[in-house]
C-alpha cells in the first residue's frame, strides 16, 4: 500500500508571471492526478519544504495542473526560484471542494481578493464549462493595484462570456491609469446585481478581506448558509493528523477548506 506521505513527482512545464510577487506554475504529474475544484494539494520542494496550495486550473484539465503562488514565506520564496524542467512533489488532493451541484440553477456571486483569485479561477472555469446549469455568475475581484491583478489576459476572455458579469476594483492607483472601480473589493457589492433569494456567494482572499467581505455579504442580506468561505490555515499534513489547521472541532484540511459561514462563525480565531 502506498504511504500517505508519498508525493507524486511532477515536472514544471511552464511558469507564468502574474504580478511582481505571484507566479503560476503549470505542472505535469508523473502519475494520474485529479481533483475537485476547491480541494488543495501539498506541494513539496526536494529537501526544502512543503506547503498547501489550491490548484488554479480547471479540474477538467487532466494532463496538467496549475498552481498560482504568491511569494510569502520560506517555501514560496524557493518555489519562485524554480525553473522550467525542475521536478517538484505533489500530494493530494485533500479536503472537500465546492459543492457545485448544490449551486445548480442559482446565481453565483464570487468575491475574490489578490491571490485568492487562484482557487476561484479553478472554480470559475468549472462553472464556465457547464454554464447552462447556472442562472448567472457575478465575479467581483479586487487587487491592491492594477499591476497586482492576476490572470490579466484571461479576464479579457471571461469578459466576453454571456451570463458572466465581471466587476473589478483596485485599492489605490494614480489618476487615469485604471478605468474600473477604485476602493476595497467590498465596494463592488453595492454595484453587483443579483437576486438575493436565489444566490450563493463564494469568498476567497486574504483574512482581512474575507472578514469584511463576509460582513458585507451578511449586510446585503446573504444568510450564513449561503456564504462559502475558502479558509487558509496551516494545513501541514493535509490528512487530518498533524493538528496545525485546527479550527474549533474541525481540521480545515479534511473538513474544509471550504466551509459555509454558519459552521464556523463562532470561533474566535476565524479571521486571524
Amino acid at each position: 500500500m502506498k504511504n500517505i506521505y508519498q508525493p507524486i513527482k511532477s515536472e514544471v512545464l511552464k511558469i507564468t508571471d502574474e504580478s511582481s510577487n505571484i507566479k503560476t506554475f503549470t505542472l505535469k504529474p508523473s502519475e494520474e492526478f485529479s481533483f475537485i475544484t476547491g480541494q488543495f494539494i501539498e506541494l513539496s520542494l526536494d529537501g526544502i519544504g512543503e506547503a498547501p496550495f489550491t490548484p488554479s486550473s480547471s479540474p477538467y484539465e487532466t494532463e496538467t495542473i496549475d498552481v498560482t503562488i504568491m511569494r510569502a514565506g520560506y517555501v514560496t520564496e524557493k518555489i519562485h526560484q524554480l525553473k522550467k524542467g525542475d521536478v517538484v512533489g505533489i500530494r493530494g488532493p485533500y479536503g472537500k471542494g465546492y459543492p457545485i451541484e448544490e449551486m445548480f440553477n442559482k446565481e453565483i456571486l464570487i468575491l475574490g481578493g489578490g491571490v485568492g483569485m487562484a482557487p476561484l479561477r479553478s472554480f470559475l472555469l468549472t462553472l464556465i464549462k457547464q454554464i447552462d446549469k447556472f442562472k448567472k455568475i457575478i465575479l467581483c475581484y479586487g487587487a491592491k493595484s492594477p499591476g497586482d491583478i492576476i490572470y490579466k489576459s484571461e479576464f479579457e476572455k471571461w469578459k466576453k462570456i454571456k451570463k458572466l458579469d465581471i466587476l473589478r476594483s483596485v485599492d489605490k492607483c494614480s489618476v487615469g491609469v485604471w478605468k474600473e472601480d477604485i476602493g476595497v473589493v467590498t465596494c463592488l457589492l453595492d454595484k453587483a446585481k443579483f437576486d438575493l433569494k436565489n444566490a450563493v456567494s463564494i469568498v476567497c482572499g486574504p483574512p482581512i478581506m474575507m472578514k469584511f467581505g463576509t460582513e458585507k455579504l451578511l449586510e446585503v442580506g446573504f444568510t450564513p448558509e449561503n456564504i462559502y468561505l475558502s479558509m487558509e490555515k496551516n494545513m501541514s499534513c493535509g490528512l487530518g493528523k498533524c493538528g496545525h489547521c485546527q479550527l474549533g472541532p474541525y481540521f480545515v484540511c479534511k473538513d474544509g477548506p471550504v466551509f459555509t459561514y454558519d459552521k464556523i462563525k463562532d470561533f474566535d480565531e476565524l479571521w486571524d
Binding site: N3, S44, E232, S236, G243, Q246, G248
Partner: protein, 332 residues
C-alpha cells in the same frame, strides 16, 4: 475475558521466555518520583518492576516517538510493553482515533501499533497529580490491553482480553494457574482502595459544572490569569499522551520525517504571510483546554484528558489543569 493467576517467580520466567522473540520494555526504579522505561534483558530482568503508577515518559513514545522518519519508515521488531497504566490505555483511544480514524490511516503509527503487545497493570498507589477517577477513569485498566496484571500477594491475577494475549498465555501454559476467588477478592479490594485514594487526593477539585453536557468554556478572563505564568516550554504538551500534533520536515529525495509539535508554541498555527490564529498565550491555553475537553469529545465521544497528571508534574509555572477546570466550574 479470561482470568488466570501467575506467581512472581513464573512471571519472571514468562518475561524471560519473551526475550529474543520480542523487544520487551518495562519499568525500573529511578529515584523516588519516577520510573525509567528500558528494554529488558536476561541481566536486568530481576530488577524490573510494574510501578505503582504511570512513569513520566508517555506511552505514545512507542508508537509516535519524538522524532521519526515517516517516508520511508523502518519496520519495527515486535515489541511488548509491560506495566502500562489505565490512564495511558485511555490515551491510546485518542491516538488511535487520530492516527487510524478518518479517511487516511497513518502507516507509521499503524505499523508500530500492530507490532506491539500491551501488558498493563493496576495502579497500586497514586501520585498527588493523579486524577483519573474524577475524569471518567479508574486507576485500573478496563479496556485497550492485551493482558492486564492485577498485583496481589506473591503474584498476579491476569486478565486476558485479546487474541495476542491469549496466544502468549497458551504458549506459556505451564506458568499460569486458574485464579481462585480469594485472588479475585484480594485484587478487588485493592482496586477500591486505590480508587478511594485518588478521590481523596482530588477532594478539593470540582469539575461538575465545567465538564457538564455543554463543555464550552465560558467567556472569562480566566485564560489570561492561567496563562500568565506559562513560560511556553511546551513540556505539558510533550508529556501528554493524547497530544498527537507533529511537524513534517523534508529531506533529500522527497523523504520526510516528523517531530512532536505543540499548540502552546507561538508559531504553531502561523501561516506564510504571518497571520496567526492564536498569537497570545491565553488564546493558546484556551485552545488547549477546548481541544482536550470540547473538540475531541465532539469528534470521538470522549475527553482527550485521562487524568494522568503529567502536565501538572512537569509544569515549571505550576499550572494545574485541575485548578483551571475548577475555576471554570465556578465561573459558569
Amino acid at each position: 475475558m479470561e482470568i488466570r493467576y501467575i506467581n512472581n517467580n513464573n512471571w519472571q520466567n514468562f518475561l524471560l521466555n519473551q526475550l529474543g522473540k520480542y523487544n520487551v520494555y518495562s519499568l525500573f526504579e529511578q529515584g523516588d518520583a519516577d520510573y525509567n522505561c528500558a528494554m529488558l534483558s536476561a541481566e536486568n530482568l530481576k530488577d524490573t518492576i510494574l510501578g505503582k503508577y504511570r512513569s513520566l515518559v508517555p506511552l505514545k513514545s512507542f508508537f509516535f516517538p519524538p522524532s521519526e522518519k515517516i517516508l520511508p519508515f523502518n519496520r519495527k521488531k515486535p515489541q511488548i510493553v509491560v506495566g502500562v497504566k489505565a490512564c495511558e490505555l485511555a490515551h491510546l483511544r485518542i491516538l488511535d482515533a487520530m492516527f487510524l480514524g478518518g479517511e487516511y490511516k497513518d502507516p507509521v503509527y499503524e505499523e508500530a501499533r500492530k507490532n506491539t503487545v500491551i501488558i498493563s497493570a493496576d495502579c497500586t498507589s497514586a501520585k498527588d497529580c493523579c486524577f483519573c477517577s474524577i475524569i471518567e477513569g479508574t486507576p485500573y485498566p478496563t479496556q485497550g490491553f492485551d493482558m492486564n496484571l492485577r498485583p496481589i500477594k506473591n503474584g498476579f491475577v491476569i486478565e486476558i482480553l485479546s487474541e495476542n494475549g491469549k496466544a502468549l498465555v497458551e504458549n506459556n501454559g505451564s506458568l499460569f494457574q486458574n485464579a481462585v476467588n480469594d485472588h479475585l477478592d484480594e485484587s478487588a479490594k485493592k482496586r477500591v482502595e486505590v480508587n478511594e485514594l485518588v478521590l481523596k487526593i482530588n477532594k478539593d477539585f470540582n469539575f461538575a459544572k465545567a465538564l457538564d453536557e455543554d463543555v464550552k468554556p465560558p467567556k472569562t478572563d480566566l485564560w489570561k490569569d492561567v496563562a500568565k505564568e506559562c513560560v511556553e516550554c511546551g513540556g505539558c504538551r510533550f508529556v501528554c499522551s493524547t497530544c498527537y500534533c507533529f511537524l513534517i520536515g523534508e529531506q533529500k529525495n522527497f523523504e520526510k520525517f516528523r517531530l512532536w509539535d505543540a499548540c502552546q508554541f507561538k508559531g504553531y498555527a502561523r501561516v506564510a504571510g504571518g497571520a496567526n490564529p492564536r498569537p497570545t498565550k491565553e488564546k493558546r491555553y484556551k485552545n488547549l483546554y477546548s481541544c482536550k475537553f470540547d473538540y475531541r469529545r465532539q469528534n470521538f465521544g470522549f475527553y482527550a484528558c485521562t487524568g494522568c497528571g503529567r502536565c501538572i508534574e512537569v509544569c515549571p509555572a505550576e499550572i494545574d489543569i485541575r485548578n483551571v477546570i475548577t475555576k471554570l466550574s465556578e465561573a459558569k
